[in-house]
Symmetry: none
Subunit: 406 residues, 2 copies
């Protein structure tokens, strides 16, 4: 586990640059055909050549056996133990749709629901209404105003939306509020109950909003009611640049990853399009401005989620062909290649498997294995290690940590 006090005490300025290349959901599982994983099956001459000069290992995103969501998985890569540094669901949902969450906002996940005439829930997901229907309901809800706060309602997908309450009168809102969703049908929703004294005023505001919202939705069955869950605020973590002494730039095209990077205090850089070529352009443009770059590739994960082995392998091959040479051209001092978690196409979902990881610097001790893949990494000299060790290791190899003790 990273001890931030140690990192904060030891980091020193240096001219070195670190690139953290994250292929989302990189880890995979063998297909029966030839027993190779997506990464092993992909044509990756550049990764393999880099591996020959690198150390390899397997990164455990959260804990052994635990499958992480994208938020916790990225916190691990950024050096934060995801169990200790927990981000509320409401905040993750807001980040996931690219909402520009402010430090004092309280966010919650919302579900449209169906209730009967007595107010008892008959469907917790409002018959899984299409997103267009959800969007219309969200627009109706935007008419509701509350004193002293600004209220944002944003559609996520189908019956899901995000509610954000922002103080405008200098007051402090608090998010320690219980879910209104009773998690079963045939019963009424629960009130938004404060779990501590500080959250009571905010809970009252939220209950006023819920009452008004149900009034607005009354005639819009199946979305004639709603529930709120996962109330949370920006957890105000220690900031990445302070912990590690790195000016950090984040390059990612999807809202969730940009959001988590912003949450830990990285600067999120503009990317012109959704392709890795656009991300490379951003990396080149801002190369001189930052010590550390988080470079995120989304499509490996999407292909894994779709269960498309070949597509995942070809995304990896494309990164190998296009991204790796571009990074090497810029002559960074340390390169870490990894994923935030595994997304084996065999499982069509995130998984708990540790993630193949490569660490290169001119001060690393190469394993001498010219192959980047799950099995090669399983024999690597980095061993099986917590993903949150990647940042301290990168700092060491970037000559950015002074000696501990005499």
């Amino acid at each position: 586990m990273t001890d931030f006090t140690v990192m904060e005490t030891l980091h020193i300025p240096a001219d070195t640059k670190i690139v953290h290349l994250v292929l989302d959901g990189l880890g995979g599982l063998p297909r029966e055909l030839d027993g190779k994983t997506e990464l092993e099956a992909a044509a990756t001459p550049n990764f393999d050549a880099l591996a020959a000069r690198s150390q390899l290992g397997l990164a455990v995103p959260v804990r052994p056996g635990v499958t992480p969501g994208s938020g916790p998985a990225h916190l691990g890569l950024f050096g934060y133990d995801p169990i200790r540094y927990e981000v509320g669901r409401g905040v993750l949902s807001a980040l996931g749709i690219g909402f520009d969450l402010q430090p004092h906002d309280v966010a919650a996940r919302g579900n449209f629901a169906t209730v009967d005439e007595e107010g008892l829930i008959t469907d917790r997901r409002a018959g899984r209404i299409p997103t267009e229907y959800g969007q219309k309901m969200v627009e109706l809800l935007r008419g509701i105003q509350l004193p002293g706060v600004q209220v944002f309602v944003e559609v996520v997908k189908e019956y899901r939306f995000v509610l954000v309450v922002r103080p405008t009168a200098g007051q402090t809102l608090h998010g320690n509020i219980a879910d209104t969703d009773p998690q079963k049908v045939g019963v009424p929703s629960l009130p938004a109950r404060a779990r501590d004294e500080a959250s009571e005023a905010t809970a009252e505001l939220v209950n006023d909003w819920i009452t008004a919202a149900r009034e607005v939705l009354r005639d819009h069955a199946p979305a004639n009611s709603l529930n709120l869950r996962g109330f949370a605020k920006d957890p105000d973590f220690p900031k990445f640049p302070d912990i590690f002494g790195l000016k950090a730039g984040a390059i990612a095209t999807y809202p969730m990853y940009r959001g988590v990077a912003k949450l830990v205090g990285m600067e999120v850089l503009p990317v012109a399009g959704e392709a890795v070529e656009d991300e490379i352009e951003t990396l080149r443009e801002h190369w001189d401005e930052y010590d550390y770059f988080f470079f995120h590739v989304k499509k490996t994960d999407s292909a894994g989620e779709d269960g498309d082995f070949e597509r995942k392998a070809s995304v990896i091959a494309h990164v190998d062909e296009v991204v790796v040479p571009a990074i090497l051209d810029l002559q960074p001092d340390v390169i870490v290649v990894t994923g935030d978690h595994s997304t084996p196409s065999a499982l069509k979902s995130h998984s708990w498997h540790p993630v193949p990881t490569l660490l290169w610097s001119s001060y690393c001790r190469p394993d001498g294995v010219a192959e980047f893949g799950e099995r090669a990494c399983g024999r690597g000299s980095l061993g099986v290690f917590p993903a949150s060790d990647e940042l301290p290791l990168a700092l060491g190899h970037a000559l950015r940590l002074t000696k501990y003790g005499a």
Copy 2:
């Protein structure tokens, strides 16, 4: 991390003997020539033969990416987590020059400095005066007396010295005192300010000494002033023999290592000279008296610090030729060979790289690799592990731990 409570509860008496052979700064980096590290390049037939019957692994001295000083690195080898068990700089400095520190002493690092007529610092290192000049200043300072305490001043090197204050009137001194060094020039020194109430009387004594010392130094520019840093006392750690149930003898020729061994409660054995042959003689003489021997070899580190790849390799080869057979002749039950940290000659300094480590006992599971080197250890069955696990592992293999639970 070692849980001392577990060790204290489980250790049982046995007739077995453990030798912990520590080659200081053992870990290295490949030279470009043939891609071999110092250890890999050295002729080590005895280590290799022992490796074939041993388990191999890589020990992390403090935390991944963190480069340790000698003090913390040895605490790790002795089973103490060096982050939890921190030793103050003043104490490490006193140990480093072989000062016979007592449990109630308060020690500080001192720097001679140059100040202008207004008392503003113009050089925090007094123009890096030669050691002989520092020695003369130290002798002048020895004339200063304080009521109720004995004061020791000892030269370290160039502008550096150690101040030790020892109570003689039964009172207790406290070392939670801030540095007087403002860490920049153009400003006056700070007073020695107590950081807690208990340390106020000691801080007052120290300030009296500083005032008298500056008076003594007044006409000795560039050493016409001084600063004190890193005030500390013996941290009074749990003692090694109590934790592990081992009567422990330390064999080392350099003051720092003898000092740290003494700090944790080992008995420091006399060595006739500075050569490993002298250390072997000590090991033989005291073989029957102890359960555990810490056997320290300094010259691997010195060669690494000098950037001398060949010399470091030849020190390793000499240990292989002379020390290993001598240890085997004595028929210990467990042998651990490791370093306290890496000192790659390519870096000319301590480094963060994990340390090649070998564990032999007739109850180990041999990896069957007849080679002791960084890469072989990187594939070893001990994996990448905290150095503070070495003692518990050694105890287990020495049949010195009873079953935990029923």
